[in-house]
Amino acid sequence: MNPLAALGGLGRAVLSLLATFGKVGIFAADAISHIFRPPFYPREFFVALMNVGWLSLPVVGLTAIFTGGALALQIYAGGARFNAEAVVPQIVAIGMVRELGPVLVGLMIAARVTSSIAAEIATMKVTEQIDALVTLSTHPMKYLTVPRVLAALITVPMLVGIGDIIGIAGGYVVATENLGFNAATYLQNTVNFLETKDIVSSLVKGAAFGLIAAIMGCYYGMNSGRGAQGVGRATKSSVESAAIMILAANFILTGVFFSV
């Protein structure tokens, strides 16, 4: 293969990636600016709150409880290698609150909510429902994007908080029922070990991941191609991008909160 052609291909790919970043950034700024400008659509916001928040609770709860339980088992088994079994409550708490809670909830929201938003809006686009909204004097950004973004911004931190608690509860059940930990001591160690910064970082990550998940779903839905293939591609790209951006944002936010 001609090295110049390969270099050209690489250049085009990088430019395309940068262009997409720019478009997503402009879209996100536009969406956020519309949050503060009327008209507002409270009914659509309430529906989005239910879809993003309430209906995500089962999947978030199940993910968190199994992860917390598995984490307790892993730490106990790993800690036994250097007589550190007693740190299970502390590591479960810090692991769930700082990392696993926000990241797993973020990824589950990307899978459940981003895909659903992208597929719904993309289908509306290919069936001319977005054009119909415009002809009915309704701004698609205000009617479709703002309620979803706002709902995700509010509910995902709550889901992360709930996920953190359920995850710690999962570790507690495994530790007290299977590993012989004293229930009161376990809870005491958990509460004493966590700092305010741990909880704040968890909730801030939740808000950032919620914003990313909703923006990516709306962006790819609004920019979908034609037909069933267009809807499929928009859905796939939205979940991939949201998941990668959530993991990247997690790295950056962890650095911001905990860099030494």
Partner: protein, 248 residues
């Protein structure tokens, strides 16, 4: 009155509109005919501002359609989309009275529902349809709901995009008659795009033939059969022989 002057629009290398000019006098019904992919829908969407023309001017009642208050501009229009474009997540009555439930025209929900049921009756649907969802309706019923939505706010200008596509001949006849009745009754300016010659004869006061990105012929519907224009004659006869290539 709607006036398009020398409107151009291209998508990449595909030059769709290449200087389209057309006038639709106030209170008349104009039907644009032409083969698939000739830019009929693009022309309609350019007037509404859903697509921005590359060049050319569009005037509505003498005012530049791209300038001024966009909401006020769009409030003058009603549109029936090809696939009806009903909102899946809303029941039929909320689709019909969409404009009356939000924004500057917002009215109490009971009033908006009454209006929706009245408009549904106007298009021949019973009130029990009001609480169904679009996915529970047949194609013909969806078109009628789309028509009810287009006329709900009593617009001055109504656009119909392929109103009979995908419908059987009887349902097509029903929709054509409804469109004609409603346009006459409301005194609205109407613009319809279609391939269906029975629709043209039922709906049109005037006809325009779009081909090659420009209007090839325009005139009253009564003169269409004797237009002498080879494009119009080929389109009416449905012949593969003529200036319009069968393979495009």
């Amino acid at each position: 009155m709607i006036r398009m002057e020398n409107v151009h629009k291209a998508f990449g290398d595909n030059q769709v509109l290449q200087g389209m000019s057309l006038e639709i006098p106030k209170g008349t019904s104009m039907v644009i005919i032409g083969g698939s992919g000739t830019g009929k829908s693009v022309a309609l969407k350019c007037i509404l501002g859903l697509i921005k023309p590359d060049s050319g001017m569009i005037y509505v009642d003498g005012k530049d359609a791209t300038k001024g208050d966009r909401d006020a501009f769009l409030a003058r229009f009603g549109m029936l989309f090809q696939g009806a474009a009903l909102f899946d997540s809303l029941p039929v009555w909320q689709n019909v009275s969409f404009r009356l439930l939000r924004g500057p025209l917002k009215r109490p929900a009971e009033y908006a529902r009454e209006i929706a049921i009245e408009k549904l009756r106007r298009v021949g649907l019973k009130s029990d349809v009001a609480d169904r969802f679009p996915s529970e309706l047949s194609g013909g019923m969806q078109k009628r709901v789309g028509l009810a939505r287009a006329i709900a706010a009593e617009p001055e200008i109504i656009f119909f995009d392929e109103p009979t596509t995908g419908l059987d001949p009887i349902m097509s006849g029903v929709i054509n008659d409804l469109i004609r009745e409603i346009v006459t009754e409301m005194g609205a300016t109407a613009m319809t795009i279609t391939h269906d010659m029975s629709s043209v004869r039922a709906i049109a006061d005037n006809v325009a033939m779009l081909h090659g990105g420009v209007i090839q012929w325009t005139g009253p519907v009564g003169q269409m059969d004797a237009s002498g224009d080879p494009y119009v004659e080929q389109f009416i006869s449905g012949s593969a022989e003529g200036p319009i290539e069968a393979v495009r």
